[in-house]
């Protein structure tokens, strides 16, 4: 046995309710959370315009996160986490304003990312940060919460509003940026920890 880290996390506000209600398949019976009915049902209901917007969302996300677009939405993608993140981001009132920036010049996502994160409208600026953190950690920090963190920096840990889903935790990019895997979700083999990992680019490019 071992020590415990006391965590002064606050109670999450109704964690996962939205996704639980939308996806009966979240009651995971397999060890590793795979594709869920939420992604599939969302896919069935999306329009061509939605799909186009989602593609732009992924393009912008790549510029925001520094993770290659092909990693965020790979050709073989049974989990389709981007659909959950797109749906979450869309719930924010500033989302359309954010998307207008990338729609205006889809060929230059780096410039769009700059415009988002340096935007004079703080709702757009912090939504950009919320989206980065969603990709990195699989959790949702409401933009207003991040803004409040900045005006009055709290002591860590910083409680998120919710974990997007159990699948989202396993898809967090901060782990890959650290050249590893999420705690509890190794796809590696015995003894790998005694050898150096592949270079960073092998994880994120």
């Amino acid at each position: 046995m071992r020590h415990y880290a006391p965590i002064n996390l606050h109670h999450p506000s109704k964690p996962f309710d939205k996704y639980r209600s939308a996806e009966s398949g979240i009651t995971v019976t397999t060890l590793f959370p795979g594709p869920n009915s939420f992604a599939r049902s969302t896919a069935a209901q999306t329009t061509a315009a939605d799909d186009a917007d989602r593609a732009l969302f992924i393009t912008l996300s790549a510029a925001l996160t520094g993770i290659a677009k092909e990693r965020l939405s790979p050709a073989v993608d049974p989990i389709q986490i981007n659909r959950q993140y797109f749906a979450q981001a869309k719930t924010d009132p500033a989302f359309d304003g954010l998307m207008q920036i990338i729609r205006a010049d889809p060929s230059n996502p780096a410039a769009a990312a700059e415009k988002v994160l340096n935007n004079s409208d703080s709702n757009i600026k912090y939504l950009g940060r919320s989206i980065i953190l969603m990709w990195y950690l699989g959790v949702w920090y409401a933009p207003k919460k991040l803004e409040n963190f900045n005006s009055s920096p709290p002591k860590p840990p910083y409680p998120p509003d919710k974990v997007i889903s159990s699948a989202a935790y396993t898809q967090g990019w901060t782990w890959r940026v650290a050249q590893t895997h999420p705690m509890g979700y190794s796809e590696l083999l015995f003894g790998y920890w005694s050898k150096e990992p592949p270079a960073l680019d092998a994880f994120i490019k």
Binding site: M1, H3, A167, A178, M183, E187, G191
Partner: protein
């Protein structure tokens, strides 16, 4: 219904943790009928339900995967509303803050202070070893002889040599991976090798190891020590074992291994059930132990429930020839002290005068945590949570003056200290510096973000010092005769009250740990980031005394003492076989029987003691 499960059992065991199930399996194999009462939920078909609860949890703490749920509609679950509650590390907050440690609506334990008892436990099938790390160190011989060797505390009624063969059997039973050549320090000897080869060292371990030849630690009794990193014996598969998989380095031993490469007692519980002689009644809480006029235990009252927060569905009394309490070092004395009667005015196993020891000498390994950034990548967050430690400092003449410690090297970056990688990620995305790593608090994005995070996260590591705590009779579990409803559980039973402090002997051990941590970091050219404790944190104390500087400690999850073994009932509760001095058909098993806590994680030793007790019962009580 509960009594109908097994009419006239030979043995009634309270608790399905590692001690209870090892004994149940041994007795079942010997043809004895055993009924286990488990306060929590049933053995599930697999661990996937627990795993998914963990993945979706916002607060990923040792208790996260397991029921009852930590959170209710209004915050932390009020322990008054659940039938088999337990403590959580979320309830160690400062007064008036989230998780206020002394708010009975948030904290299961009624903590009287002056300091916080930081360790927690589970009340489910398999008990607390569900969420253990798997560290399976033996005690060193001097650990059993603190009085003789160092004129401190008491000796155990047994010595290392009495336990050696049981250590060997326990290592085989739970499947320990290690090499004897790494473990024969400080007088530890072996009669056979471990059942599996050792777990490989991590790159973090190797970096610490490089600094050992030049390490000098002054002023804490460790001058001239030949420092060495040792691989840690672990109940974690390095080969397929007991039909379980090889470790894949999920870095999640606590709270749950997703592939069950780490041993947990459900393995032994399944073996016990397969004997055909063992059964378990789940969600069945033992509420009172009865003693007859001859001083023998005559029955145990139980309350059974269906829903964690539902009303009882059955109450009754069960009888057997022999009774074993295998709760833990808090729930077992709670039950004994709840069982006052004319025959047992101070509680069961607690003498009739005022010299009983039940509940006294509660101990833990107060843990000093220190963290640093190396000067080149060591790639933490990979492999088992810990694969090596520094053990050569566990014994020495300094034990006359201060608590000894072992040093655990962590493989999980700064996850334990600051819940990283989350904290540092938020720092760099949102322009904060709670981690101390984002000088200038500049927000980053894109490639710059990925590169900055990679640079910081790949160089993090931490050390944990498990400090030997002195056995003090004032550190204790009590159950008052009259308890207001808000201090009871949903079954109406009084919750455990804890009085806890650290002696100067223990504090000096923690202070020596702090000195040693900084010396190791210096020797590694690593930059220390250990944060200064908050004054209102109930797990901190001033050090040196009278100064404004403080030391913070954590619980190790090691519940020790409270029904300690000894030769006489004047200063102990059980004999070396864990049989009650007062009642010859009652055994109290687990790390509650330890007279001293030493420095090794306690599970292997309590498993060895359990096997020794089972052998005694089979050969003597049922001969």
């Amino acid at each position: 219904m509960c009594a109908e499960r097994m009419p006239n059992p030979d043995v009634l065991i309270v608790g399905s943790g590692i001690a209870g199930v090892l004994i149940a399996r041994q007795l079942g194999r010997a043809g004895k009928k055993v009924l286990i009462l488990e306060a929590g939920e049933a053995l599930p078909a697999d661990i996937n339900g627990y795993m998914n609860t963990f993945l979706a949890a916002t607060a990923k703490v040792p208790e996260s995967p397991y029921p009852p749920a930590l959170f209710g509609a209004n915050g932390l679950t009020d322990p008054r509303t659940v039938n088999a509650g337990r403590p959580t590390v979320l309830s160690l907050g400062a007064k008036g803050k989230f998780g206020d440690w002394q708010d009975p609506k948030q904290a299961y334990l009624i903590q009287k202070g002056p300091l916080a008892f930081g360790s927690t436990y589970e009340r489910i099938n398999g008990g607390t070893v569900r969420h253990w790390l798997g560290t399976s160190l033996r005690f060193v011989p001097n650990d059993f002889e603190m009085k003789s060797r160092f004129n401190r505390f008491v000796d155990w009624p047994i010595k290392y040599r009495h336990l050696e063969r049981w250590y060997r059997d326990a290592e085989k039973d739970i499947g320990v991976a290690a090499d004897v050549g790494d473990q024969n320090y400080l007088g530890i000897n072996f009669s056979s090798n471990y059942p599996m080869p050792r777990i490989p060292l991590s790159l973090v371990d190797m970096e610490v190891e490089k600094a050992m030849p030049n390490l000098k630690v002054a002023g804490v009794g460790l001058d001239g020590l030949k420092w060495k990193v040792s691989s840690t014996p672990a109940a974690r598969n390095s080969q397929p074992y007991q039909a379980r998989r090889v470790c894949a380095g999920n870095t999640n031993c606590i709270p749950i291994c997703p592939i069950q490469a780490k041993y947990d007692p459900s393995v032994t519980l399944a073996e016990a059930l397969r004997t055909g002689n063992v059964d378990v009644s789940y969600k069945t809480v033992a509420s009172k132990v009865h003693v007859d006029g001859n001083g023998r235990v005559s029955g145990i009252d139980f309350i059974r429930y269906d829903k964690d927060d539902g009303d009882p569905v059955e109450r009754g009394r069960l009888t057997a020839k022999l009774y074993i309490l295998a709760g833990n070092a808090i729930e077992t004395p709670r039950l004994l002290l709840m069982s006052k009667s004319e025959q047992t005015p101070n509680g069961v196993a607690n003498r009739r005068d005022d010299k009983g020891s039940v509940g006294k000498y509660l101990m833990d390994h107060p843990l000093y945590l220190a963290w640093a950034l190396t000067d080149k990548p060591v790639w933490g967050y990979r492999g088992p949570l810990s694969t090596a430690g520094i053990e050569v400092c566990r014994d020495g003449g300094f034990r006359r003056e201060r608590g000894a410690f072992r040093i655990e090297i962590g493989n999980e970056g700064w996850n334990f200290p600051i819940q990283d990688p989350d904290t540092t990620t938020v720092d760099f995305v949102n322009g904060l510096n709670g981690s101390g790593l984002n000088d200038g608090s500049k927000p980053l994005f894109g490639n710059a973000l990925a590169i900055a995070l990679n640079d910081k996260l790949s160089r993090q590591f931490r050390l944990g010092f498990l400090v030997e705590q002195s056995p003090d009779d004032s550190n204790r579990v009590t159950v008052p005769d009259q308890v207001p409803d808000e201090l009871k559980d949903h079954l109406g039973l009084p919750r455990p009250h804890i009085t806890y402090d650290l002696s100067d002997y223990t504090k000096r051990g923690l202070a020596a740990a702090k000195t040693t941590a900084s010396a190791i970091f210096n020797s590694m050219h690593a930059k220390e980031f250990t944060s200064k404790p908050e004054a209102d944190d109930p797990s901190t104390f001033e050090w040196p005394p009278g100064q404004t500087t403080r030391i913070k400690y954590y619980g190790s999850g090691h519940l020790v003492g409270t029904h300690r073994m000894g030769e006489r009932s004047e200063n102990s509760v059980v004999d070396s076989f864990q049989r009650s001095h007062d009642h010859d058909n009652l055994y109290l098993v687990g790390s509650g029987s330890f007279p001293t806590v030493a420095t090794a994680n306690p599970t292997l030793t309590l498993a060895a003691l359990s096997l020794r007790t089972a052998d005694q019962i089979i050969s003597k009580d049922f001969k």
